[in-house]
Structures are given as structure tokens and as C-alpha cells.
């Protein structure tokens, strides 16, 4: 394999969202040298919850207790869906591997038990997901308790506009009689009119603020069996902060993810950055790819980067496109239709703009535009207009792929992790087969 120095690498990953991060991680785990280009800012929109597959079929909105049963149904009924192309055993391995890496980087997840979980959201709704951070799992346990929902106290902070315990209690109260809410002043920020979750999270990493907060909650506990708080229990040291709250209150404590962008998103980005550093992935997080071309030298590709003075030129034996959809700017939409932004690859899309959306914006079956994306061959290579792989060593993963509606199917992280794993298997095969030293 190519040595991991300078501007050349085995695999260049374009994109630093969930799919790009997963691809870079799996490349490194396979011993491939890897350079990742792009800002990880998109990760900040994540809630920290790792969905695998929650809903199928989308039009029926059917929730699944077992994501693997859902995957089997998907494979039967929608074989073109990217997730249906990945072997369920590989998906299991990929998730274990991803979660283990996050755990090493200090972001612990509850053990994956092969089933979906229910998690409380800041709106008072229940969300079906798969991987749950350890700091949130007590809430899922409470919701799923076989003997019915135990009394629980939700606490919020005056001035934290994005999180209202009262709203959650009001929404869920009729189905959860023991759910109470309380509001307290955040210690040290009493005079500040507007609070920001990340600032509170950092403040709680100081023992003194933590103890004062615990002391404020203590007299409010009453009959509660657990305490729910907005997700502000620490940033880099969230395990220790969460443990200190549980020890101080003597009860299970769980975080409820706040509206994006949120502290769990910051934690996830921080953990993934530590993972990349630990695995030797070279990041170009301030750069973007201006141009990608096959090199004269067969078997390598050249990436021209913007974002640093004078630009930079990378050479890679394989390139993984993980640039996301419209928000990640992997796809560009205009009056004429949808294009792939970097190479102008053909995008599978509705024939005309009128067909992009249903008449009803909230139509449960979703919109055709949300299923637009790149078509790929069996080796995860995007196709050109003639239906052939656009480049022999160009692969595409994540939400840019056609034939899926990850938001409605609750399969965002699953799509990212599973397709990254499967594509990287192909990359390793191809590069190994190329016989380079």
C-alpha cells in the first residue's frame, strides 16, 4: 500500500459527514492510507443517535422493532435501495466497528442489541433509533420498561430557548402520568438572558458548577425514578459529567437531544476527529475539492484542492465520493434539474421539475426528488451517462446515492455506515488486486 505521507494516499475521501467519516475510518482499519477532504461541520446537525433502519415502507410509516427484520423486508421489496445491497452481517460488523471507535474516542454508546430503541426528543415525541449514547439510554430504558412508565422528573434551564421540559411533559403527560417538569437557573449564568447549550456543557465540566447544579435539582426529585435533562452534560468529558450527575442525584440520569445543532453533534464531531487522528487519517478539513481527474499515470487520480493558500494537489489510487446531497452540496439543483456538483455525473431524477414533489408537502410517501441521486454498479462505482463506471476507481457512498429517502426511513447513519463499509471492501479488493506495493 502507498505510504501515508505527503500528498499521496491509497484512498481520498471527499466529504466529512457521517459517510465520509465512516469511509475514512474503515479505510484506515483496512490498512489503507487515507486523506479526507472537507469540513466536518455537517456532523453538528447530528443528534448523536445512530439510526439503522426505523421505517419501512416509508409510505406506510411502519416502525420496526428489529432493524434487521426491516432490512430483510427492504431487500425483498426494494432491492434497488442502497441498504438492500449490503449484507446484513456486514452491516452488523460495520456498526460494531464504528461504535467501538467512538467509544475509544470517549463517546460511549449503549451496547447494540440488534433491536431498535425509543428515545425521547425535545419536542416530546418518541424517536425510533438504533445506537443510543450511554448518556441517553436511561430514557430509552424508562420508556420501554415492561412494567409501565415510572415517575420521572424533567429539568430545564431558564434562558435555554431550545429546550422546554414543560413542552415535553405537556405532549407526553396523558401517556405518562408520572412525568413532571421543573425549571432552574443555571449556576453562574443567572443574569444571562439567553443561554447556549454548548456553553452550559463546557461549564458543567467544572466540578463546582456541576455540584451547584446537582444541589439545585436534588430538592426537586420527589418520587422520580429517573431525571431527564437537556443534552448539556459535558462536551469532551461527557462520560465523567454524566456519571457525576447519576452519583450526585442517586438516580439514573438521561439526556434528551436538543434541536440541531446540538451538544451531541459537537461531541460526535469531536470524537470522530479524535478517531481520524488516532487512525492516521490525514484531514484537509479547511479544503474543498475543485477538480478531480484521472492521472496520466494509470491507477492514480489527482485531486486539486481549494481552501489553503496556493491550493494543494493530492494523488490517490482510489477516491470515495461522500459529498452528501443538497445541504452538503454533493448535489446541485437548479431550473434545469439536478447535477452532481464535482464531476457533473448524471443523477437519477424525476423527468421534470413538476414531478419533484407530490401535491401535498406532508404526503407520507415522500417526494421523488428526495430519492434522486447517483446510480452505481455492483462495486459502488457511480455510473456515467452511458451506464459505465465514470472512473475505474471512483466510488460513491452515503446519502448521495439514488433510490433512498433516509430521513423518512430513519436510516441516515445506517446508510452512511453500511455503504461506506461495503464500498471500502470493494476499494480494498481493487487496490489489493492492482498489486501495488
Amino acid at each position: 500500500m502507498t505510504s501515508g505521507r505527503g500528498n499521496s494516499c491509497d484512498v481520498a475521501v471527499i466529504g466529512a459527514g457521517m459517510a465520509g467519516m465512516a469511509a475514512a475510518l474503515f479505510a484506515a482499519e483496512r490498512g489503507l492510507s487515507c486523506i479526507q477532504v472537507g469540513s466536518g461541520g455537517g456532523i453538528l446537525f447530528a443528534s448523536g443517535l445512530l439510526d439503522l433502519l426505523g421505517v419501512h415502507p416509508v409510505a406506510e410509516g411502519r416502525l420496526w422493532r428489529s432493524p434487521y427484520a426491516a432490512l430483510a423486508a427492504l431487500a425483498r421489496e426494494q432491492p434497488g435501495h442502497p441498504l438492500a445491497r449490503v449484507d446484513p452481517g456486514a452491516i452488523r460488523t460495520a456498526f460494531e466497528s464504528f461504535v467501538a471507535a467512538l467509544g475509544e474516542a470517549g463517546l460511549a454508546y449503549a451496547p447494540l442489541r440488534g433491536r431498535n430503541r425509543s428515545v425521547l426528543t425535545a419536542l416530546g415525541t418518541l424517536k425510533t433509533t438504533f445506537g443510543v449514547p450511554l448518556s441517553m439510554v436511561a430514557g430509552a430504558n424508562l420508556l420501554e420498561a415492561p412494567g409501565g412508565r415510572q415517575p420521572c422528573l424533567l429539568v430545564d434551564f431558564r434562558g435555554l430557548r431550545e429546550f422546554s421540559a414543560r413542552q415535553i411533559a405537556a405532549t407526553l403527560g396523558d401517556r405518562w402520568p408520572g412525568l413532571r417538569c421543573q425549571r432552574i437557573d443555571f449556576p453562574g449564568f443567572e443574569a444571562v438572558p439567553e443561554l447556549y447549550a454548548a456553553h452550559l456543557a463546557r461549564a458543567l465540566e467544572s466540578g463546582e458548577t456541576r455540584e451547584r447544579t446537582i444541589a439545585l435539582i436534588q430538592p426537586l426529585l420527589g418520587d422520580a425514578h429517573a431525571v431527564g435533562l437537556p443534552a448539556v452534560l459535558g462536551l469532551g468529558h461527557s462520560r465523567a459529567v454524566h456519571a457525576a450527575f447519576e452519583a450526585g442525584l442517586g438516580l439514573p440520569v438521561f439526556e434528551i437531544p436538543t434541536m440541531p445543532t446540538s451538544v451531541p453533534g459537537l461531541r460526535l464531531l469531536g470524537a470522530l476527529e479524535r478517531v481520524m487522528a488516532a487512525r492516521g487519517v490525514r484531514r484537509r478539513h479547511l479544503s474543498s475539492v475543485r477538480a478531480l481527474a484521472r492521472n496520466g499515470n494509470p491507477g492514480t487520480m489527482t485531486l486539486e484542492l481549494d481552501g489553503v493558500p496556493g491550493g494543494e494537489r493530492l494523488s490517490a489510487r482510489a477516491v470515495v465520493l461522500a459529498t452528501g446531497r443538497f445541504s452538503g452540496r454533493g448535489l446541485t439543483a437548479d431550473r434545469g434539474g439536478v447535477r452532481e456538483s464535482l464531476l457533473g455525473l448524471p443523477v437519477q431524477q424525476p423527468a421534470s421539475r413538476e414531478a419533484w414533489h407530490q401535491r401535498d408537502f406532508l404526503d407520507p410517501s415522500g417526494h421523488a426528488i428526495n430519492r434522486a441521486g447517483l446510480r452505481i454498479d455492483a462495486a459502488w462505482r457511480p455510473l456515467d451517462a452511458s451506464g459505465q463506471p465514470a472512473m475505474p476507481r471512483l466510488y460513491a457512498v452515503g446519502s448521495i446515492l439514488a433510490g433512498q429517502d433516509w430521513m423518512r426511513a430513519k436510516c441516515g447513519s445506517g446508510l452512511a455506515i453500511a455503504t461506506a463499509w461495503a464500498a471500502m471492501e470493494q476499494v480494498a479488493d481493487h487496490l489489493g488486486g492492482a498489486g501495488a506495493g
Partner: protein, 568 residues
């Protein structure tokens, strides 16, 4: 030359020079630079000098001072470290000049007592004098070459007195060489000497003339006999008797002798015009002019720069008392030789070129600092100069490279700090300070009132390419990531002195086309440029770059409506 005239001129020049020196040196205790300098009296500053000198002389610091005398003053160690060519030029000029001063100009009091039998026309003095003169001339040439080579848009301000000093020095050297050449070639001088030594008999005089024409370069126009070996042999016998004890062959005067040969054809005419007399007058009186004007030409650095170097060796820079620091700053105005080495090393030199404002550069800033202390910078009518000086003063990054580069050991960082204090006292503080005088909305209102006169257009877009271009911020989805990661917002837990806007609100004002409301905001001005916002922005918006740009724009635009007036 008349001895009376010579002595009168010498003493007058000495007196003028001494008075001038006293006047200039008194400024070291009188000129006040920096707010702390106002708190100490000249008497305290003189006292601090004596205390400092005493503590340096009676401690191990003395070793530093002695080392500085040799290494820094005489051998110019600091110049050597910074610029070898300039060091060579300076060393040639310095040692050439000092040796000429001691061995030639002060010969009656130095050379004669040291070397019994000294005659200026004997070896090795002929050679040495020419060597020293040549050293000085080469030094001047190197200096002028260096000035030419380093010519930039913002060369150090040297002024007419620097040029006058170099011209005077060159003039003294040239008249000296011409005088010596004239004396070598002059038949008249030969005949006068021959007469004084009693060689009047033609039987002796003719052979001697033949010898001096052949071997001593005298340009006789009336030799009667051919220069036969016999004739020269006779001449040598006469020479050995009366001349040899005082006259060596002049060929070792390797500058003057070729000039003498070149002047051979006009030697008679020069004699007729009494060239030896007026060349001597020009040579000596040029020296006296130099002596009398010493305190007011660049030559003054020969006094102030060594003092600065020795003071610098006497104590570490930060150990000086307020009184001593005040004197050091005043001394710095005199000791600066305008060599411009500081300008070459200055971290913000590219900025000076970009802004077209030379007062960012140390050598210019030193002059502005002096003008500020002297009051001329704050005189009404000079508002633009004062504002530019303030711009220069506050764009300095205090990197300290000027101080390290200075060959005369000035504590320039201290001088800049003092100057900024004086500027602040004149209501010209750093932009981050004066911008606080009003709230963001008050500034916006001021801009609105002042704006009717001119419409913002292209120059504005050039200064602020990001905040003038919708595409750079329109992608903002107000997700608060920038605010969440901002340590400045996180730190401002006190609503009384916290930031007024958060980064995402600044972005929102830009989206709303209300940029003027951001210019004076605490967020823009308190931004620590840690770049967390920019690195984390999910939309890739250059938030921190925009903050920096807004500050630059604010200096420009709020500065225009700030309406600063010189204190009357």
C-alpha cells in the same frame, strides 16, 4: 596658515560644538515620551542616570559595559549580525576616520609624543594616512551603494543633515588627498624646503632636483640636464645630508602619488595660484565646520549611539526605573541612525506598503513618536498626520523584531508602548477603544447621518469582499453553531459587559442588509479570532474572516465619521 586664525577658528568650533552637545544632551532629560514620563521631573531623570551609572560601575554589570564598549561600540557586533556589508562599510569609515583623527589631525598631541622623530612625510605615515583615507572613502562608497540598493518606497527619513554630513566628510578627505598630491608635485614647495635647508648652490641643487624629479614626483618644468645616473648619484648624496631624515619616497602614498603624477602638467599653474594654501584652508576649515555642527548633523550619532549601547549594557531593558526609561526614550530619538534595519525586519512592513502608510515602520514611527512628544504632531491642521501615526502605532504587533535588529540597542518596544500612551492621552487610542465610545446602533445612526453625502460603492467592496458579497453569508441557516462554539460569547456571562450580538446574529444582520449595525458591535470587536465558528460552520461560511473584515471596515468607515480633532 596664520596660527592666530587657526586657533581662533579651532576654539570657536570647539565652543560651538560643546554648546550644541550640551543643548542636545539636555534633551535626554527634558523630552517626555509616554504618560509615565510626565510623572518624573528632569532632576529625577538626572538622578536616575547617576544611580544607574553607579550601580552598573560597582557591580558585575561593569563587565557587560566593558564588553559592550569593545564588541558593540568599537566592533559593531550587532551590525555584523544583521548586515555584513553595512558592517564592513561602517568599520572602514569608523577606523579610517578615528586613525586619521588621532594620528593625523591630533598629531602634535598624540603621534609626536608617542613616536619621537615623527614626520608626516616619512614612512610609514605616508602610507598609513592614505590607507585610512581610502578606508573612509570606500566606507562612504559602500554606504551610498547600500542606500541605493535598499531604496524602497518608504526608505528611512535621512534628511538634508545626513547628506550634509556625508558630503562634508567626503570633502575633507578629497581636499586632504589633493593637498598632499599638490605638495608632492609642487616645484615651489621643493624650492622653499631647499632654501630652508640651505641648498642654494646650483652644484648641489641641480642634482637634488634631478633626484626629486626622478624619484620623488616633483613636476619641474625647467630641468636643464638629462637625468644621468651620475647626476642622480650626486643628488642622492645631497639628499642623504639634508632631506632623508624628513622625507621618504612618496610612492607609498598610494592615493595621493598617482594624483600628483596626474597633476604634473599643471603643477606650475597650481603653484602660481597658491593651491597649497587654499587647499589647506579648505581642508582645515571643513574640519572645523564639522566640529562646530557635530551636534546637529548625523555625526551626532557618534555620541548618542555609543551612549545608547552602553546604557543598554548597563541593565536589562525591563529593569529601568520610570525615570531612566523616560531618558532612554528621549535618547533613542538621537541615537537612531536611520539605518532602517528595523524597517527591513518589521512584521507589518507589508501592511505599511498595502496601506501606503510609512508610519507603521519603526524608523518612521520613531520620528512620529518624537513629533508627538514635541507637540508638532498634534498641532491643528495636522489631523491627517496624527491619524496616520495612530494607525501605524496601533497596527504594530509588538513582535519585537525591531528591537532585536537595532544596531544601537534601542528598546523600541518600550518606545512604541510609550507613544501609544501619548496617543491615547490625545484621544487617539486603539480602534478597539475608541469604537467603544458608542454602541453599535449609535455608530449605525452616525453612519446613516453621514452617508447621504456619498454612496458606498466599489472601494467598499474592495475593502470588504466577504461582507459585501451575499454569497459569502447567505447560506447561513441560523443554526447557532458559531455561537455555541464561541468562547467569547461563553465567557460573557455578565450582561452588563458582555457581547451585544452573537456571531450568528452578526450573520443575520448581514443577511438583512444591515451591515452598518455590526460595525461597532462588541462581538465584532471582542472576537478572539480563534476560528472555532469558521471551522465548525456546517455551511462553510467564513464567519471569523468576516468578523476580521468587519473590523477593518469599521476602522475605515467609523473612523471617517468619528471626526477627531486635535486638542487645541
Amino acid at each position: 596658515m596664520s596660527r592666530t586664525l587657526f586657533h581662533m577658528a579651532l576654539y570657536a568650533a570647539l565652543a560651538l560644538g560643546a554648546l550644541g552637545l550640551l543643548w542636545r544632551m539636555a534633551a535626554w532629560f527634558r523630552v517626555r515620551i509616554g504618560p509615565d514620563a510626565r510623572a518624573v521631573t528632569p532632576a529625577e531623570r538626572v538622578g536616575a542616570l547617576f544611580r544607574g551609572a553607579a550601580s552598573a560601575l560597582f557591580s558585575r554589570r561593569l563587565l557587560h559595559v566593558v564588553a559592550a564598549l569593545f564588541l558593540d561600540v568599537l566592533l559593531q557586533r550587532r551590525l555584523y549580525a544583521n548586515d555584513k556589508l553595512r558592517w564592513l562599510g561602517h568599520l572602514l569609515m569608523f577606523f579610517g576616520f578615528m586613525l586619521l583623527l588621532l594620528l593625523h589631525a591630533l598629531a602634535p598631541v598624540v603621534t609626536v609624543p608617542l613616536f619621537p622623530g615623527y614626520e608626516s612625510t616619512l614612512a610609514p605615515w605616508l602610507f598609513l594616512r592614505n590607507l585610512c583615507g581610502a578606508m573612509v572613502l570606500i566606507g562612504i562608497a559602500l554606504f551610498l551603494y547600500g542606500v541605493w540598493r535598499r531604496r524602497t518606497r518608504f526608505a528611512p527619513v535621512r534628511g538634508p543633515m545626513a547628506a550634509a554630513f556625508i558630503a562634508l566628510l567626503g570633502f575633507v578627505l578629497m581636499t586632504g588627498f589633493l593637498l598632499e598630491a599638490d605638495k608632492i608635485a609642487s616645484p615651489q614647495a621643493f624650492h622653499r624646503m631647499a632654501q630652508e635647508n640651505g641648498v642654494t648652490d646650483p652644484a648641489e641643487l641641480e642634482p637634488l632636483r634631478a633626484l626629486w624629479a626622478a624619484e620623488y614626483g616633483v613636476a619641474f618644468s625647467d630641468l636643464r640636464q638629462p637625468l644621468t645616473p651620475e647626476l642622480l648619484e650626486k643628488g642622492r648624496a645631497v639628499h642623504a645630508e639634508g632631506c632623508e631624515s624628513c622625507h621618504a619616497r612618496p610612492q607609498s602614498a598610494f592615493v595621493s602619488y598617482p594624483i600628483a603624477r596626474a597633476l604634473a602638467s599643471v603643477a606650475g599653474a597650481l603653484d602660481a595660484a597658491r593651491a597649497d594654501v587654499w587647499l589647506l584652508y579648505l581642508h582645515v576649515f571643513a574640519c572645523f565646520v564639522g566640529l562646530a555642527t557635530l551636534p546637529f548633523t548625523r555625526f551626532y550619532h557618534a555620541v548618542a549611539a555609543p551612549v545608547s549601547l552602553l546604557v543598554d549594557a548597563a541593565a536589562p531593558k525591563r529593569e529601568f526605573s520610570a525615570a531612566a526609561r523616560a531618558s532612554r526614550r528621549a535618547l533613542a530619538l538621537d541615537a537612531c541612525v536611520r539605518c532602517g534595519l528595523c524597517d527591513t525586519d518589521c512584521s507589518v512592513a507589508p501592511l505599511a506598503r498595502h496601506l501606503g502608510n510609512p508610519t507603521l515602520l519603526p524608523s518612521h514611527k520613531l520620528i512620529a513618536t518624537g513629533a508627538l512628544a514635541g507637540g508638532s504632531l498634534l498641532a491643528s491642521g495636522h489631523e491627517d498626520d496624527a491619524l496616520r501615526a495612530a494607525e501605524g502605532a496601533f497596527l504594530c504587533t509588538d513582535c519585537g523584531r525591531c528591537t532585536s535588529a537595532c544596531p544601537v540597542g534601542l528598546d523600541l518596544e518600550d518606545l512604541w508602548e510609550a507613544g501609544r500612551g501619548d496617543l491615547a492621552a490625545a484621544n487617539l487610542p486603539a480602534p478597539a477603544q475608541w469604537v467603544r465610545a458608542r454602541t453599535a446602533s449609535a455608530w449605525a445612526e452616525l453612519l446613516r447621518q453621514g452617508q447621504s453625502a456619498h454612496v458606498l460603492s466599489d472601494p467598499d467592496a474592495a475593502l470588504a469582499p466577504l461582507s459585501a458579497d451575499r454569497n459569502s453569508f447567505s447560506r447561513c441557516v441560523q443554526c447557532q453553531t458559531c455561537t455555541n462554539v464561541c468562547p467569547v460569547v461563553a465567557h460573557s456571562t455578565d450582561p452588563g459587559c458582555g457581547v451585544d450580538l452573537t456571531p450568528q446574529k452578526v450573520m443575520n444582520l448581514l443577511r438583512l442588509g444591515m451591515r452598518d449595525f455590526t460595525l461597532g458591535s462588541r462581538m465584532v470587536w471582542d472576537c478572539a479570532t480563534c476560528y472555532q465558528c469558521q471551522e465548525n460552520c456546517p455551511e462553510g461560511i467564513r464567519v471569523a474572516d468576516i468578523m476580521v473584515e468587519l473590523r477593518a471596515l469599521a476602522v475605515h468607515r467609523l473612523g471617517a465619521v468619528r471626526n477627531w480633532k486635535a486638542p487645541s
